[in-house]
Amino acid sequence: MSNVVALDHLFDARRLWRGQPQARPPSRQPTGFPLLDTALPSGGWPEGALSEVLLPLDGIGELGLLWPTLARLTQAGGRVALIGPPYLPFPAAWAHAGVRLERLQVVRAEPRDVPWATEQCLRSAACAAVLCWPQQADDRTLRRLQLAAETGQCLGVAMRPASAAVHASPAALRLVLETRPARLRVLKCRGGNPPSQPLPWPLPVGTPETIPDSHVTAVPDRA
């Protein structure tokens, strides 16, 4: 009755395709939080892509999520641009987080100019990371930003209100911070399924040894 076929035979005859034949190359952009890295399919921020961080409120640790990455990039000589931040970045706290202030550039822009300035910075390849705070960003705008990040091989992060979570987005990674209870949810991650369980927030900070040296990207200084 049952027709037994060797699995190898099927593979050889190309009748059967093995999904994801090799593991994806690990991201060279670890988040600095080993727990989050293991939850993400690439093991870090998606490279050359736009990520979204969705926030219900200000002041719930959203910068803490980014500071390890910004510190790593600026210490390697990369330039980081902040486009249209909602408040003044307080230098003492940024410096304490390890961010090299002289590699940080703040771009003040009217809300309508924020997407434009972000696109310019992402596309230029002059920045290692670009953080933006668009007040209103439609699907088309985000798609442009995603494309610009791909073109410029740049790490792009858009900080948006949590209400945007209900809309689809072309961003490669979408994280939502929640308070009461404080937790971090991965809404979408390209190349894998989002973890079913939310992560605790604030994330436990791992020991530095968990990040291999080879992950530190040296960005040549073009000043």
Binding site: G59, R108, E110, Q120, R222
Partner: protein
């Protein structure tokens, strides 16, 4: 020495055409007294309609129904001649614009920099095509021969005396740059080519045509060396375009602006400099001109970048009156050091260096829009923040990541004090500050940096967010 002659057969016309948005429309240059206007030069489209130089304007109007006429302006032509001399200066230290409608450049000294003549000739032609000038080029061991040969040939390159003699011999007598009456009398003697002239006994020839002609014949062969006036590039750049119609929108200025910034870049490359500040002057029919200053943080000379930055500034201008002329003035031309770049630096396409990106952002968002951050040694938070300069030591924590531009009342119930108070007392010398700072948590889970008057625990003012 080897001299290249760049002959510009329609310099006046090209100067006019290059600023016309559609050079394919029939266009003629006219001059002469009002009663007897004569076509001075015609473009290809006008030629196709049957017009040619030398035709009276009335006749031309009878032949062709519609063509644009532009007044021939000798001063304008001189300016273009100067501009091209400034451009040619990049290819050789000795440039002369002494002879009309031609440029003479000593090129042999530049071969080590630009490569052998065929490659250099290609560079010259490439530039001239990009700038929009028709040209003929010839190379010869002396400038006079180069000029004479360029009048007949295009692309001829002679580096030695023997072939030079032969090429000169084949020149028609009337094309050798001899005084007109001498050329005329030689022609009447039945002499058609220079080889026949050189064959004559010198003394007898001198008695017939005069020493001026003999000198010119000697200059052609190189036997007589006459120094040329060499061109010295000026220390500033000015360019002006007058419109024969009124321009009501800045968008219409973009085409002339692109030409001007391109010219500026060509000029800068010639003197190996950059530009840090320039002014666009928009002249109106009456009233003061609108000045649009374009300032850069560092000298630049890339044509595309200069155009983009000038365009960014121009876009912000609200025109009060129609524009009749556009002028670009650059007086500060500091030395330019190109940004170093790594040979093995892998860069994505469309990559833009940071300096250029920064200027682009500043051009659209405003001069103050892009800035860095640094710490200032002051206990008062609002003064511990500044947007540039050297950083002082960071004060002991806790400090929030976000600072509000000015503190606002924190009207919320259920605040939980997590840390504090930290007393900030400072600035008695310029506006005293005495506050107790707390780290408080709101009911929604936000962590705020807020302060009260000293000794109190209510009336919180929100000053930052721990984000």
């Amino acid at each position: 020495m080897l001299w290249a002659c760049i002959l510009l057969p329609q310099l006046a016309l090209d100067g006019v055409l290059r600023r016309h948005a559609d050079p394919d429309e029939p266009l003629v240059l006219v001059d002469g007294p009002v009663q007897r206007r004569v076509l001075r030069a015609v473009n290809a489209a006008a030629k196709a309609q049957g017009l040619r130089a030398g035709l009276p304007l009335a006749t031309a109007q009878a032949i062709c129904a519609r063509f644009a006429t532009v007044e021939h302006d000798p001063a304008e032509t001189t300016r273009w001649h100067d501009f091209l001399a400034a451009w040619a200066y990049r290819y050789g230290a000795q440039v002369s614009r002494q002879m009309p409608a031609s440029l003479l450049v000593e090129v042999e000294a530049s071969f080590r920099l630009f490569g052998p003549w065929p490659r250099m000739e290609a560079l010259l032609r490439e530039d001239l095509v990009a700038l929009g000038f028709r040209h003929r080029i010839a190379l010869a061991p002396n400038p006079w021969a180069a000029r004479a040969l360029a009048g007949v040939h295009d692309g001829l390159a002679i580096t030695h005396d023997a072939p030079l003699k032969q090429a000169l011999g084949q020149l028609p007598v009337e094309r050798a740059g001899l005084p007109p009456e001498a050329a005329d009398s030689l022609r009447r003697m039945g002499l058609r080519r220079l080889v026949q002239v050189y064959a004559l006994p010198r003394a007898a020839l001198g008695r017939r045509v005069g020493t001026d002609t003999l000198d010119q014949l000697d200059r052609l062969t190189g036997a007589l060396a006459t120094p040329l006036d060499c061109y010295q590039p000026p220390d500033h750049f000015e360019s002006r375009i007058e419109f024969n119609y009124e321009v009501g929108a800045t968008g219409q200025l973009l085409f002339p602006l692109r030409r001007m910034t391109g010219d500026l870049a060509a000029y800068l490359a010639g003197r190996d400099g950059g530009v840090q500040r320039f002014v666009l002057r928009l002249e109106h029919e009456r009233g003061a001109a609108t000045e649009v200053p374009v300032g850069l943080l560092a000298p630049e000379r890339d044509a595309g970048m200069l155009f983009e930055l000038a365009r960014g500034r121009l876009d912000l201008v609200q025109l009060a009156a129609p524009v009749r002329a556009l002028q670009l003035i650059a007086r500060e031309l500091p030395p330019f050091v190109p940004a170093g770049r790594d040979l093995f630096d892998v860069r994505p396409q469309q990559a833009v260096p940071w300096e250029q990106l920064r200027e682009r952002l500043r051009a659209r968002l405003g001069d103050e829009a892009v800035h860095g951050l640094s710490i200032r040694a002051d206990h008062r938070p609002e003064r511990a923040w500044r947007d540039h300069g050297d950083s002082a030591e960071a004060p002991p924590l806790p400090r929030p990541g976000w600072l509000l531009p000015r503190p606002i009342p924190l009207r919320e119930r259920g605040l939980r004090i997590l840390a504090g108070p930290e007393r900030v007392e400072s600035g008695w010398w310029d506006g005293d500050v005495r506050r107790d700072y707390y780290v408080v948590e709101t009911a929604a889970g936000q962590r705020a940096w807020a302060y009260c008057p000293v000794g109190e625990r209510e009336g919180f003012m929100l000053h930052g967010w721990f984000a």
